[in-house]
Subunit: 364 residues, 2 copies
Amino acid sequence: MATHKLLLLPGDGIGPEVMREVEKIVGWFRKRGVGFETETDLVGGSAYDAHGASISEDAMKLAQAADAVLFGAVGGAKWDSVPYAVRPEAGLLRLRKDLGLFANLRPAICYPALADASSLKREVVEGLDIMIVRELTGGVYFGEPKEIVTLEDGSQRAVDTQIYHTYEVERIARVAFDLARKRRNKVSSAEKFNVMKTGVFWRQVVTRIHKAEFSDVALEHVLADNCAMQLVRYPKQFDVIVTDNLFGDILSDIAAMLTGSLGMLPSASLGAEDPKTGQRKALYEPVHGSAPDIAGKGLANPIAMIGSFGMALRYSFGLLDEADRLDRAIANVLASGTRTKDIAAPGANAVGTQDVGDAIVKEL
Amino acid sequence: MATHKLLLLPGDGIGPEVMREVEKIVGWFRKRGVGFETETDLVGGSAYDAHGASISEDAMKLAQAADAVLFGAVGGAKWDSVPYAVRPEAGLLRLRKDLGLFANLRPAICYPALADASSLKREVVEGLDIMIVRELTGGVYFGEPKEIVTLEDGSQRAVDTQIYHTYEVERIARVAFDLARKRRNKVSSAEKFNVMKTGVFWRQVVTRIHKAEFSDVALEHVLADNCAMQLVRYPKQFDVIVTDNLFGDILSDIAAMLTGSLGMLPSASLGAEDPKTGQRKALYEPVHGSAPDIAGKGLANPIAMIGSFGMALRYSFGLLDEADRLDRAIANVLASGTRTKDIAAPGANAVGTQDVGDAIVKEL
Ligand SMILES: CC(C)[C@H](C(=O)O)[C@@H](O)C(=O)O
Ligand SMILES: CC(C)[C@H](C(=O)O)[C@@H](O)C(=O)O
């Protein structure tokens, strides 16, 4: 039987405590004969504290060798003033870039049982199911020059550069159209073509790929600022939204927050398929951050992290039955009212991080 | 008595019909002895149709000579494929840049009577009153290189450049802190210092200005993606938000949409004060866009445009009594139920653009 190599990178803040619950789930599957091999390493601020770098070369090697990386969260005020090159986020950015994880899939689903937890009206978000496809290895995150220079008069100038190449837009567009075909067959492509050349270019390439390969899918172009507005006004108009790295960062956070289920949302970051093996590098992480304010208190909701492992079962290992089983277990636990504070029903008792993990194992 | 020179640039879509209502208000004040001189010119797609440029040199001269510019809205699918340099938005961007209008003030106010029009729960937005201070003449909107180049292999690369200088961040920070002092004394500065050097720089400069000149004002730093989330989750935590041109574009649109009052929100774009005359260049425009779908139908809400004239009375002409009077007239008309479709109470009859303008004149 195949052995699946998992690298666990719990990171900072609530990362370690939500990852611990995933380990319980992995343990359960292992006992039932699914071959998982896990290694654990540091990333983010905790890696910086240990080695002075936000990810070590050894951890990078493990990541390259793994079939999938499970990533917790990084960052926190504690490391706000460490040098830019070794700040916690640099570890995550290096993983994305070096593993070539160009396609970030962020589903935003509003669980009916949790619709009241949203700050939006129930009818606006109930049943919401959109997928944000964010380009993850290009744009302003990685373009050069990226620098702060001191000028002759002592004042300074800071620069970031947004760059996109044809192949980068083509491949992310294909991911979005492919996904839309399995969903409600609509793609909304968001950019600022009215002020950015990368926006003009994005629109051109997406339009060309659409015409040539996916003319059966509905395509609309929407300005990123208007997209943000429309997400707030009437999010159910969207199915798949495809956008660049920076707009994707913001739009996916808005979409996640709409659902009232931030602690519930997983994400997948995927590389290109190897034409020979059919394998692709992949990293799975919760949409929420490291939440330093509640870290170490056993309050964090582990479902986004556990759901990220569920995405790994599905997208990296093709274990569809196991993924379905896990999803059902999560749904049953939610329905039974075993919930952390962020999603507890009004008046209901909230349970701790570990209780949710235990309940899901029991349900499995 | 002083004569105030106003340049009216109605623009495209619903711009002309909402500007017509402002002209009624200007007329009313003129009859009561306030000296207004108005000129009108083209901008945006309508200027392109007439001259092949999105603003003519003559119109730019009028703008330079005016005490304040009132701007309607530009753009529409009709001009989606005109050359980049002459697209409708270029006219607006040139006005901002050439007049040096670096400070864009976008209040987001939720009128109690309209709280139910928001897609957010009433208790989340009722009484909301935040001010977004957006840098308007720098960043990725204007940085060079900004281009699409064809490479040797026939593929292409698109580039935009975000640049900020010390003085640009200093002056916008001062505007934000100054405003906060007149409000609830809190500034939230939004950037992505975890991935952008301009974000690192922005945070440094804002922190320095705060320490040196405004340590009595509360300052917090917030990541732009988190700021977008927090605007959706619990917007009342904010007072003044200061941010760069691109984040400001998106965050201010979210803030506006939260209020349920998009058709109600004015904005001011201000230049530096002339040390000799105390005058500053200024442009006033509604936050909403050109809304081509309802243009020409008499459905548009003119209150954002009329409120923009109110901001001109206040910020450009120091006519505080007149501004208060206009604000009161608007509030009374709203309370009386004379409302366009976008804000009509459920079951109530909506009136047209002109009816609202007429009612405000009558109320004055
Ligand atoms: C942690 C940070 C670098 C990251 C990003 O900006 O991409 C995060 O906000 C995200 O969305 O995954
Ligand atoms: C019309 C467009 C160029 C403009 C911008 O992006 O600044 C608009 O969205 C705005 O917010 O004023």
